[in-house]
Assembly symmetry: C2
Homo-oligomer: 616 residues x 2
């Protein structure tokens, strides 16, 4: 025992000593990391060892595929500095960009922004970026909260430029006077003013969403949510509380069962992942520490639709339902939550209209996204007051005001319908003003149409048409030489049915941030050399190509080292290997080497020691 | 870049795969760990490599010394189960032991207790044990909070027995009726009663202390403390808050300086270690992230005595003061804090009586320990109401009530003075009732005297006497054949000056816990075969030897990879190597392999990536 301990400590000492020498040699951690990486290559002979195991090589194959397609975000940092200019040259006053929020959208925008040509101010109530897809893992201690956050200052420091960050919340956007009011939320003991104004030339709103209770009574008071790090930490404490309460002396079995009934409202990816994590936590760790109450634990998922994970492929949805059934997780579909009290959830079964009540120990409300007050207020100012969510055009510019951009969950892209512009398109395409469109004339504009109206491509794909010219065929499928305006309208009339709003996911937000920073970086160049499609209603071309979302797939971890994934090209992957794919992708998508190492260490730690049940 | 990533992930996959197979093979994490430990031995050839580095071998030499002397706590677990009996044999009703608290004393008691012969109930508001000596490291993120906690249930599960734990606070001890009232502090949404009574046959009070404000106004409202995990987490957030506030727009330099002034009241080990940690955090990490305010940061230590670390050796105290002076940490000695307000600390300089005020951003109050209300209440009941701290006898039994034991910071051992018993001792030793004591008669009782009154040994050591017989020499130093009562009194009259109360440290608490569990385990055996010293006032022998504290040394980390240590035998060790000794000892003293791995990983992480400045 003692011998092993000494040996281990010697090993550790040697390791630290080597590191110490490395650090003394290089002085900066990033250099140390790159030196370590080089050293790691020495171990690459292990590849061969791994290839000896068929299941591993399969995993790595899938992983390599995923590296090509899915790893988009983490690598964007390698582009950094590409557009930097010499700071010494004499410039006009830099334009002031104010960024609200440091979530996926805001951070992704900042990561690629050419900070040398803008004066950037970032305002967010949180001084860190959180890798939100791992939040469900934090609720049960599979991953630690601190392993999935990275300080914003560290992220922006990597960019080398002069970005100013203020830990404050934006209370009011004055779009007319181009300024915002912010307030910081510090302890009142600190001296100095907590409110300040910031003026902007461009405003980037990336404040995300808040929880949507659908005005259900009691939700705000008695439910947990899962949007912030603090939410996850609170859930973790509450789960432990429920168990500790259940083993206190003097409780009836009914009381114990109530306290150990965990209810999840909403069968989307977050709710399902939390249910799976909780099930693992209970059955892999807690039952051994609280053996007397292990048979009293119950987990229920309430879903208003007919299936859980209903935004996923049907195969995934039923795989998840079967897995949950085997695990003993109750899935109540077709139920609407009417109200929540401190001890009961009141439901209405949609099909029968019957009301029922369920006692609970903890409720997680994970359904829908709502608009934050500051955005609601802006919407009133700019004539979007009757909308549910802030609308931007396809270039992410907020509709109804100048120089304000919105990305991520707080806004939605209002895709222009092709039928609104059909006359202008026809007129622009019909160069000889003949009143009919020839194939050549159509070919001339078709690329611009596809760029401007992405629904055309979706429509073609859905109809299994391989050539856009097929649109102009007549009803019997024969090619036509030319079409008039009515025929043209008829050909395109169903295209707009493919317009869909983008999901409120990290993937969309990150892509939007990267897209917008590209626009900002090329603003000057694109003024003279526009790279967007032709303006059908006006003249000339748009400065930039509109934002186009590329869906790279989606994961649903289901617990017990099983996961489901929707991969590009309508692939569906299920089971244990998918969970390993999930590990690989989520490790590679981390925003820094620090969080990557920490997350991988957390997984390993859980594997060896289990999850911690300390109530902190 | 991508190549390295893939290689690393492959390595990781292989590692996890191996672990996975190990887990499948052994099924239980503890078995896996022991298997891993065996595998680790293979690497022991690395010892030779390490011995090639002179500085390392020095470290390891010191470490090996420390292993012998200092590593007492972590290894006590290897004794577990030594006294277990067959559970099937028919027994009378087991005695009920109720343990209050899961700190050092309580956990150490539980770790070695033979749970097969007692019905053990543990009550504590925290369901984990925290390795408190690392709390100052948690305040600045050098070590994570979760790395230094271990669930009580896990610790007791290792003992294999049936220990029942309740997460609740003891509100009232009814020593007359041998029962206690407890209340749990859960969310009110959970159903069931929060209060319950527990009856006991033996009560072990190990509730620790609370902060002592010395009735200074404003301390409770405006100061931070450092006794619990939550305190450390709050301090961490507040430090980041102070920096974030200082870089907000619209602050004057004076306001920034006020917010960045960190004041520590109390120059004991905790205060000094926090000041050092904070200095490192600021100068190794924060100045790079908040470069605009780096020259405005100030750290001050206020000490009422003339020196900081005044319980340590003088050399350590002045080494610390010099180190702090070089680091720019202000040390204000000889100052008493009169009151604290939200923005100012009001001081009185003791020597001149001048009042002065210091503006502050954060204050840590780390001076003195106070008695918890539940213990105060018990003291009233048992006639100790006019004492400052609960008194026990040398067997840790609370004075004034039956079957109640108290250990750790919540109590103090009231060592019996030898002069109180001097007549009885003389009478007991003087077997022939001659009125004089011969050397032989004295020799007969001297061992019992030394065991019963440890101050005798301390006195001999202090006077540099090597033989207890030297006490009986006459004033000119000549041996005497026999002494009468007056000469005997004179010989021992100065011995009691060596009675000192034990410090409120983890070391004392852990030793007391281990001692008491030994008493509990041997209770039956010692009833018939008492192993304690002779009862001088009564007849026969005491059942157990009284508790004897062995001081194993003390550390004071001073930041910048430097530390000071007081080692057994009046050794003093200073500087960088001492910091490495500190790492070794603190790693080896962890209560579980899990926390040991986590703490070592945290140190390594800090070494490579620095500390995290996210405000969570």
């Amino acid at each position: 025992m003692m011998g092993v301990k000494v040996t281990l400590l010697k090993l550790y000492s040697y390791f630290l000593y080597t590191l110490h020498r490395l650090v003394q040699h290089f002085h900066r951690p990033s250099e140390v990391v790159s030196a370590l990486k080089k050293k790691m290559r020495v171990f690459s002979y292990l590849n061969r060892a791994i290839n000896g195991y068929p299941s591993c090589s399969k995993l790595l194959l899938v992983f390599s595929v995923s590296c090509g397609g899915l790893v988009a975000y983490a690598d964007s940092q390698s582009d950094s500095g590409r557009h930097s200019v010499e700071p010494n040259q004499i410039e006009p006053r830099k334009k002031r960009v104010v960024v609200l929020g440091t979530g996926w959208a805001g951070t992704s925008f900042l990561k690629d922004l050419d900070v040398s040509s803008y004066d950037v101010q970032v305002v967010s109530p949180r001084n860190y970026f959180a890798f939100t897809p791992l939040l469900p893992s934090v609720t049960c201690g599979t991953v630690e909260a601190r392993s999935i956050v990275e300080p914003v200052r560290k992220l922006v420091k990597k960019r080398g430029g002069d970005i100013h960050f203020s830990e404050a919340e934006c209370l009011e956007i004055d779009a007319g006077n181009k300024k915002i009011l912010c307030r910081s939320n510090f302890n009142e003991n600190l001296v100095g003013n907590n409110e300040f104004f910031l003026e902007y030339d461009y405003l980037v709103i990336a404040v995300g969403s808040q929880v949507n209770t659908f005005n259900t009574p009691g939700v705000l008071e008695y439910c947990h949510f899962l949007k912030e790090i603090e939410d996850a930490q609170r859930i973790r404490e509450t789960v432990i509380d429920c168990f500790e309460k259940a083993v206190l002396p003097g409780q009836s079995d009914e009381e114990r069962m109530t306290n150990l009934h965990f209810v999840i409202v909403g069968g989307g990816p977050t709710g399902v992942e939390f249910a799976a994590e909780l099930h693992d936590f209970v059955h892999e760790d807690l039952v051994y520490l609280y053996p007397t109450v292990k048979d009293l634990v119950k987990i229920s998922v309430i879903q208003s639709g007919d299936h859980i994970l209903n935004t996923f492929d049907e195969r995934i949805s039923s795989f998840a339902e079967q897995k949950f059934q085997r695990d003993g997780i109750d899935v109540l579909t077709g139920c609407r939550v009417v109200s929540v009290s401190d001890k009961l959830i009141n439901l209405k079964v949609k099909s029968t209209g019957v009301d029922t009540s369920i006692p609970h120990g903890m409720v997680l409300w994970s359904t829908g996204v709502g608009t934050r007050p500051v955005v609601k207020d802006l919407m009133q100012q700019i004539g979007q007051g009757n909308r549910r969510i802030l609308a931007t055009d396809e270039w992410l510019r907020v509709k109804g005001c100048e120089d304000v951009y919105a990305l991520g969950d707080c806004a939605t892209v209002a895709q222009r319908k092709i039928m609104e512009d059909i006359l202008s398109i026809f007129k622009a395409a019909d160069k000889d003003n003949s009143g009919t469109l020839t194939i050549e004339e159509f070919k001339d504009v078709v690329e611009d149409i596809i760029i401007r109206y992405p629904q055309v491509e979706l429509y073609l794909k859905r109809k299994h048409l391989f050539d856009v010219m097929d649109l102009l065929k007549d009803s019997s499928g024969n090619d036509r030489k030319e079409v008039d305006i009515e025929e043209f309208k008829l050909a395109l009339c169903q295209v707009d049915s493919q317009v869909k709003s983008l999901p409120a996911t990290a993937q969309v937000a990150a892509q939007q941030g990267a897209y917008l920073s590209g626009c900002f970086n090329h603003r000057e160049r694109c003024k003279t050399n526009p790279e967007g499609p032709r303006r059908f209603r006006g003249s000339g071309r748009h400065e930039f190509r509109p934002f186009r979302y590329r869906h790279l797939g989606q994961f649903a971890p289901l617990g017990g080292e099983q996961a489901a994934a929707e991969l590009p090209g309508d692939w569906v992957s299920l089971g244990r290997s998918t969970q390993w794919l999930w590990y690989s992708v989520y490790a590679s998508k981390q925003v820094s080497w620090r969080t990557r190492v920490l997350v991988v260490f957390d997984w390993t730690k859980r594997f060896i020691f289990g999850r911690d049940s300390s109530r902190i």
